[in-house]
Structures are given as structure tokens and as C-alpha cells.
Symmetry: D2
Subunit: 331 residues, 4 copies
């Protein structure tokens, strides 16, 4: 249940509830709201009940992710970005970090287009073990240097618990890949850090699955979480790699306070469909975009087919900006 406390009694009541329930149940506090797992109103003392302005009993398992517990938007601040709420965050970069020179060149494209976050994979979760697996630490260093040179934030994937300290040393935002969305050990590990986490939705993850996955991170005390829609698996992937579930953007934004980012690149799988999907995501209200770019897609180390060339990326940004401004001017 979630107990919404009367404002003038909140401080004292929170202490009392912690004392009463804290040793047995999980208890979470946000402003004047207290969520207690596995308890119901009949467990409250008369004094506790009297301090409540409202008691909500129909509560999802992922209670910390819910707007019932945390009504206002989560805003995440990184050195160069403010993510969530009315802000719009553009993230871009190559699929893989390929070399120090290349990532710097791409970072310049990213910066020029007005983006504030540089993406790039140093550890790559490839379907086949014989595909390029990423440059590892060397890639992290190159990525960090390029971002620092151009005053950009870094987002990069962490693939297992052991990599967490290494990646943490170089990134501003941890990325958890779609295939690891329910790697609960990894979620717990990044939940213990205090770096923001960008969680990609799994290929067949329901809305409840995604929110429960964020809860593994939040349960460790890390509340700086973003969710990425990157396309789901359906019965037809002949023309697009995945099916971009644009509807999940407003659905998630209704249910949770975490920012929702659209990834049109992995959904489209082919360059020609990236911009329409980016536009759809922005029009549906996404809090940001993460887009793959490459100056020579035919020779990209990975996912070249879906990488926008710099000029295509610039055109995409012009269009998505136009859509955002058109919608802002109405509100």
C-alpha cells in the first residue's frame, strides 16, 4: 500500500511507520508518500491512519517506479544534460567505438547537431560469439576522451556485474541492453552505483516487465533511471528489424515518472526508416532520442545498415526539432 500523509504530520508519521514496519517489510519514502510492501490498511495503528490523507491499496509490484508513489517527473542531471520532464535530450554516436580518431570524428558530428550525449559501444552483445565483441577498455578511454574534448556526456553499455566498476569509471550513464533487461544481477549491481542508468526494453518485455526491471535498480537506491523503447519482436521483420512500439511511450509516461527515450535505429534496422521512426517517437512525446550514426556505414564494425550518415542525421535533427517546436508552441 501507499500512504499519502497529511503534510503537517508527515515527518513524524514517516518515523513512526519506519519504526513500525521497517524491520520486517520493505518501506520506501518519497516526500509525504510511504510505500510499504506486503502490508494493508488494517496493519496500521489508529494514529498512523489518522496521519494519512489517503491510502492507496491497488499498487503495482514496481511501486517506486509508479506515479502513485512518485507523481512528479524524475529529472536526471548529468554534466552536460538535463533529462526528463519538459527537457528533450538527443543522444547519438556510432554503434561501436572503432578507434580514438573515429569516435572523435563522430563526436564532432554529434556536438554540431546539438546533441549532448555521445553513445558508443566498447562491450558489444553480439548474437554470434564470432562477431566483433568491442574494443573493451581501450574503447572506453577513447569514448571518454572524445566526449571530454567536445563537452558531451557518455552513455555506453555494461554487460555484466564484473564490468560495472570499469564502465563506471568512464561513463556518465550506464546502458543496459535489451538482452540484459532481466539480468537481475546486473540490475542490482548498477542499482548500487549512483550513476544514471538507461534501460533498454527487452524484445518481448511487457510494460510490467520493464517497470519491474527498473525496480531492481531502484531497490538498490539508484533512482536515476531512463527507459528506452527500441522496438519489439513481432511476426514480420522483413522490412524493419523490429516493430517500433510508439504507443508504449505515452503508456510508460502515464504509469511512471522516469524519462522515456526512443531508439529509432534498432527499431528500423535500415537507414531509410530511421527518420520516420524518430519523428514518430518525438511526436508521441518521447523525452529524447538515441540514434546511431556513422560516416561510412558500409564499413561500420557493427549495425552499419541502420546508421545515419552525418548529413542524414543533421536532416533528421532539423525535422525532429521542427516537430517538437510545433508541438511546444501549442501547449
Amino acid at each position: 500500500m501507499i500512504i499519502v500523509l497529511k503534510n503537517d504530520q508527515a515527518t513524524a508519521a514517516i518515523e513512526e511507520l519506519k519504526q513500525h514496519f521497517g524491520s520486517q517489510q520493505e518501506i520506501f519514502v518519497h516526500n509525504n508518500r510511504v510505500a510499504i510492501q506486503n502490508a494493508d490498511p488494517s496493519d496500521l495503528t489508529p494514529a498512523e491512519q489518522a496521519a494519512a490523507q489517503e491510502i492507496i491499496t491497488d499498487v503495482p509490484a514496481a511501486v517506486q517506479a509508479s506515479r502513485l508513489f512518485h507523481p512528479e517527473d524524475t529529472i536526471i542531471k548529468t554534466p552536460h544534460s538535463t533529462i526528463g520532464g519538459k527537457n528533450f535530450t538527443l543522444m547519438a554516436g556510432p554503434c561501436s567505438v572503432e578507434s580514438a580518431e573515429h569516435i572523435l570524428k563522430m563526436a564532432q558530428v554529434v556536438k554540431n547537431a546539438g546533441a549532448t550525449v555521445l553513445r558508443g559501444g566498447a562491450f558489444k552483445p553480439r548474437t554470434s560469439p564470432y562477431s566483433f565483441q568491442g574494443l573493451g577498455k581501450e574503447g572506453l578511454i577513447a569514448l571518454r576522451n572524445a566526449a571530454d574534448r567536445l563537452e558531451l556526456d557518455v552513455v555506453t553499455e555494461v554487460m555484466d556485474v564484473e564490468q560495472v566498476p570499469l564502465v563506471e569509471a568512464y561513463t556518465d550513464i550506464f546502458q543496459i541492453g535489451a538482452r540484459n533487461m532481466q539480468n537481475f544481477s546486473l540490475l542490482k549491481a548498477v542499482g548500487k552505483t549512483r550513476k544514471p542508468v538507461m534501460l533498454k526494453r527487452g524484445m518481448s518485455a511487457t510494460v510490467a516487465d520493464v517497470l519491474n526491471a527498473t525496480e531492481y535498480i531502484a531497490a538498490g537506491g539508484n533512482h536515476q533511471i531512463m527507459i528506452v523503447e527500441r522496438g519489439i519482436r513481432t511476426f514480420d521483420n522483413k522490412y524493419t528489424r523490429n516493430t517500433f512500439d510508439v504507443g508504449v511511450i505515452p503508456v510508460l509516461q502515464k504509469l511512471t515518472h522516469y524519462p522515456v527515450i526512443a531508439d529509432p535505429s534498432h527499431a528500423a534496422g535500415h537507414t531509410e526508416f530511421v527518420t520516420p521512426l524518430a519523428l514518430a517517437g518525438v511526436a508521441a512525446g518521447a523525452n529524447g532520442l538515441i540514434v546511431e550514426i556513422h560516416d561510412d556505414p558500409a564499413h561500420a564494425f557493427s549495425d552499419g545498415a541502420q546508421a545515419l550518415k552525418p548529413n542524414e542525421f543533421n536532416e533528421m535533427v532539423v525535422k525532429t526539432n521542427a516537430v517538437r517546436q510545433a508541438l511546444q508552441s501549442i501547449e
Copy 2:
């Protein structure tokens, strides 16, 4: 195969090809392009080959739907609308025609918002036989009268071959519902008329399935076809009724010349998500929207949960127009 004829030899070569192949194979002509089913270049005479500027052998089964056969956009003209190409067509109305008074009231809302097509079901394909099945002919009459009073076109569903003449007498555009997308007898029947057909994608129809379904209509000589994306069935329908496959809009527009209309209402299933999906569809380049409205959704005869109220619809139109204009101003 598709034979692209040299322009100065096209007329004569078309006649020759018809004579050569017409009695055995299906043969279709569009300007200087001739599609012949079940034939390949080795079947051509030297003279026929000499008349060809290009011969395309990797041809989809739905050849008439393909841009390989018909490169330019199909433009459909109805009394009050021009559909396809750079045009944008707004269609709206209640799920069911409920009475002459009600449909007229809704038509006024539709007209005021700038839409040119009035939708409304007289024959309703309901999941259960015990649900309201529509007013039938009485509904058609009311729909036609309301549209005529306000100078709107009519689109309404036809459910079986026997209904075709009746519906044809009252509508400007036949609607084929998602559940009938592969009702091939019905597709053949509307293919023999010369009224435009709006074909809704089936719940689990692949892109190839949709295009093959249009081909059943085109095979009868009716080339005024629109395709509607109305959401597909995936593993999560708890928050939206279907998954709006926004990516299929640019995919279809690449492959086929027929206009592609977005139906955010059946995808969303809930009012609050209709506008974000409409915006996504428009941003992705849809040639039009078809939207359900109702002044009293709680008492609608069908699908009230997804009907926009008139003021909500007006807001949606303002927003979608803003997005369209923003994108047009860039091109």
C-alpha cells in the same frame, strides 16, 4: 516479370505483348510498363526484348501494388477529397451510426474540424454475436444524408459479398475491416466495382499479406485502394488495445503507390492514447487519419472507450496540423 518499354515503342510493343501472352498469362499494363505473370525474359521474342528499356525479374506476387510496376503515387478522387500523394485526408466519425440525429451532430463536428470524410458503421463486425450488429440499411441512409447535408464523403464498412450493391449505393468509399482482410470473395467483389476501397490491415498480417490482399481488388480492375494501419496484435495489450505499427507506414509507402492511412483509435483502444498515436502516424508520413469520435463516449453503442470527444478531437486536429505544417515547411 515487368518489362519497361522504350517510350517511343511502347504502344506497339504493348499490343504485341498482349497478343503474345494475353491468352495464357495474366498481363497488366501501366503506362510503358507491362507485367506478365509466370513468364521470364527467355519467353520474349527478340523484337520484344529490343523494345524493352529494362526488364525486372525480381517482382513481388502483388505486382500491380508494387512501385516497380506503378512508380508514381496513386491519387484517389472522391466528391470532396483528394487522397494520396502530397494530400492529407482527415476522416472521422462515430464507430457506429446510432441515429439520424446523432450522425448529423457528429458530421457537424467532423466538418468543423476540416475533415472531408465521414465514417460510421452500419454493419458492425462484433466479436460476439450478442453485441450490437449495426442499424443496417437505415444506418446507411442516415450516414449518407448527414454527409450530403455537410458536403462530406462517406466511408463505411461492407462485410460480405451480398452487401456490396447496397453499400455501394450509399458510400463513397468501401471499408474492408481487419477481420475480413483475407476474405478473398469480398475483395474480389469490391474489386469489380469502381468505388474506392479502404482496406484495413489484419491483426497479424505481414506487409506481403496486405499487398496481396490489395491485389485481389486490383485484379478486378479497381485500382482506387487505400491501406489502413490500425494496430497489430502482440504480447501486451493491457494498456493499448493493439500495437500501432508506425513503421509500416513508410515501409508500405516505399513498396506501394497506394495511400496509407493511420487509424490511431483502434490501435490505442483508450482515448488518452489516441492523440499521441495520431501524431506519431502523421509524423511518420501517413497520407491521412481515420479517427473515432463521440459526444457521449460512455453511452456509445460500440467502442466508446476509444472515442475522442469533440473538443479532444479538435485539439488533436490542431496538433496534427501543426506537425504536418512543420514538416512541410522543411521540405
Copy 3:
């Protein structure tokens, strides 16, 4: 609601309930059970309530299909078969009727293997309009003659309302194809006949969808209904044409009294997987099998890739019989 009447008061109470509700609500009677749509216990008079042994209010929309209304198995009798309950019915034949000679040859194979129903399509719902569409009436005649010569029943597909009288004249069982599962006009039309109907599950039809589709048939007074599981559409159809949902067999048998037939041919799509799927279906408790066979699959007019050759079919029958007998010997 469903009212289970006390046996000694059933006859009188049924009359009273019909009088009370019959002019306004749909009312269905099965032995001492009366289902009334859109009514609840508070609508009953004290006398009506007194006649009830039990009143069930949590009732599915497809009430006539439900075991709550009709607890015992439906048994369907055709001239040469008894379908449902503890009976097992084997149906086989070519995808299409190709000629009088060929269907007779195939009928002999069917008969020799112990099957009692001959399948064969005279009207073929093909994805493309340019594929073979069936021999039509000529095919029906050939199919009927072959079956009569060998004392077999006929099952064949009817594709639209207009074909119903023609097909009815030649078949013992109407087949409704997967693509027409929600062609409600067609379901109503066969519901008005008194010939058994074999309804194939649509590619993405939920259990509720299937049962509601049967209800359209039952609403017309035709209660001789079979349901066929023939595979559903999922994210991987590279190796099998569809995903055989073997679990739906016991699920349907729990919820409904209609026989459930397994179609391993359309699920497998490739000969080598037909027998394993047939065995799975039988082991899971299917009331019968419908299997495609052909003596020369490479030259079959349709679906040759999934047709068992006569010797393969015979082996399949030996194996499925062995499994059935093994399971029967335990009960």
C-alpha cells in the same frame, strides 16, 4: 447468467423464463440449464429463483460454447464418423481437388489408413489472386464421388455466403478457413444450415476469439461445431510455417464441449515436421487429426511442401494409433 434448474421443476420453469425474458433478451436452453443474456439474478421473480438449483453469473460472452451451459461433450454424427467425446476421427486428403482421378486415388489411401473423412479444397483461399483458386463445382463433384465410392465423409471449405448452398449440396462438413474465422456473415450463414461446421482458428485468434466465432454459428441454431488448431503466427516461421499451439487443445477442451481437431500440416509447413506435430496433438488429447497428403508433392497444385506421401501418411497413422492406444490403456 446461467440458471441451473432443479430437475423436477425444469420443464415448467423453462417455459416461465421464456415467457418472462424471451421477447427482450436472448435466451438459450440446454437440458435443465437456461442462459439469459444481459440479465442478472435480481431480474428473476421469487418463483424463478426458487426453481434454481444454482445461478452462475460469471459467464463468458460465448455462452453456448461454454461447459458452464453445456457440460457434456458434443458428439457429432456424420454418415461414416462419430466425432467428439472419446472418439477419434482421422481426416485426410489433398490440399486441392486436382482431378476426379486424383482425388479418387487419394481417397483410397485415406480409406486404407482407416480414416473416415476425406478432405480436399474446391475453393482455395490463396494469398495471391494469381495462384490456383480451385476447381470450383467440378471439384466438389469429384470429391463427393470419390468419397461415395469409398464410403467416406467429405469436408471441404466454403469461402463466402453465396457458396453455402452449393457446398452444402456436396459436403458432409463445412470447413471455415483460418482467414475467415471472423467472417461473421459466413459464420451466420453456415449457422443457419444443419450441416456440421469445422472452424479453423485464425492465425492470431485468442481462445476467446475462437469461442466467440463458434457462437456466431451456434446463434443460428447449428450446434455441430468442431474447432481446428492449425498453428498460430509468431516471431519465427523460418523452419515451420506456423507455431503449433498444442496447449490450446486441452485449454479448449476444458472450456468448451466442442471437439478439437489438430491440423499438423498447416502448422508444420514441411513434411518432415508433420508427424511429430501429429503425435504431439494426439498425445495432448486432440479429438482427431486433419492431414494433407499427396502422391506427388512436388507437383501438387497447392501446399505440396507439407503433404505427406501415402507411405509417410501410413507411418504417421501407425504411430498416432500407437500413442492413442497407449494412453487409452492407462485410463
Copy 4:
């Protein structure tokens, strides 16, 4: 490519090929077959070509998993079981290890039914972080002791790289859960051990995805791999938790030499459907079953709804044995 060497030249040719390609390309040898990644016949010297009896160029990415590379069945030997080929392996136990007493009691049921592998989770991948997460090391000890007392093998889940040494110390077979099927770091870690690995198919994993996941294990040198079909996610999970993809069993057995085990419990999700799915899996040719049991399902720590009670489990075993014997008697 895969080079099938002439038997009398195999030893020498293998050495030559290793020398030629081993420093640059990944090269795998199985008997007289040599797989070389990213190479084609034109890269071979005339002598190498002369030593080849056949060169296969259409090779899947997961080459070591393929029967093209390893035609004969993989047979896995654990202390009490022989898994794969014509052998049938029964595995059973509770979802979670709940206490030393309880797991011993369940082990006795497992043993009495003729099973040779005891399952039980000590680390539980639960959707919600607030659900029971397993007893951890204490659970492993209890599981090992129970198995040893009754001369059974142990299979238990390992959830992350760090847990590998601990779990390895107590188990005979590592289980990788469906949610971790593409946790590539974990796959690599168990690939470096020499304990058998039982890999559960992910909820929306294609056949190629599953085989590529096994390849991550095989690439580390561990070839003792089993694949488990445990149901996939489709559009209807109202009556069963997942859709049991029985067809994937013969498909996998055709493509790969690894044993394929059926898990009817997670597919069914409800006790009443476990036995029909187990029978379906066995009839389709599964190399074994893994089944969840509990003596008091209503109070199970996890997944009680799908646990068979001991008597239900015994009945299931009688039936599945009957089906296996019936099919064996025919071959």
C-alpha cells in the same frame, strides 16, 4: 566453411589447416570435419582442396552447434544420467529449494518416479525484486545433500558470472534461465567450465538465437549443452503462461546435435495443463523432461500454480513412459 576431409588424409590435413588458418581465423575440428570462420574455398591451397572429400559453404553462424559440423548426437554423461541420443532423461523437483527437509522429501518423490536429475532453484530470477530471491548457498548445500542421499544428479540455475564457481561446486548441470539466454558474459563463463549446461530458450528467441547462444558456450570449449523449450510469449497467455512451441523440438533436433529437453511446467503455468504438454513434448521426440513438483503447491515459495503434486507427477510419468514405449516399439 566446413571442410570434410578424406579419412585417410584427415590427421595431416587438420594440422596443415590449423597452421594455415589458426593464427587469423577461428578454426574448429570435429573428427574429420574442420570449420573455419570467415574463409572460403578459394582461400585453400590445392593440397588442402585435394584432401577434402566435401566443402560445405552454406554454414550457419553457430557452426559448432550444427549437424553439418557434428552429425552425430551429443551424449552427455553425468554421474547418474546419460542424456541425448536414444536416451530419455527425467528431471524434476521444486521450483525453489525451500529447506533441507523439503528438498529431501521432494527428492524422494523424484527418485521413486524413476527420474535421475533433481532440480531446485537456490538463486531465483524473479520478475519483482521484492519476491523471494532464493536461499542462496544454503539452498545449494541442501540440494546437493538431498541428491547425494538419493543418488541423483543436480541441476540448478546460475544467474551471473560471479556465482559460477559457487554453483559449480554443488551442481552437476548448470541451468541458464530464459531471461539470461543472451547474457553473453554468463554464457562465456559457463563455457570455460567443464560442467554440462542446460540452456533455456528465451521468451522470444528464434531458433537461430538459441543456437547462437549455445555457440557462446561451445566457443569456450564446453560442448556438453542441452536446450530447453519452455514456452514462448505470444498474444494469448490467459489460460497458459506461455505457448509451448512443441514444433521447435524436431526442428532443433534436425539442426543441432545437442539434446532437447521439454519443460511443460513453465509453458503451462497451471497444473492441469502440465501433463498434456509433457505428453506432447515426449510424443514429438524430446530427449527428456524437466518438471516442477511440490507436495503443497498452495504454499510453495514460488510458482506453486504450475507444480504437480507427487501423485499427479507419478501419473504423468506413467503416461509419458507409455507414450515413449509405444513409439519405441514401432521403430
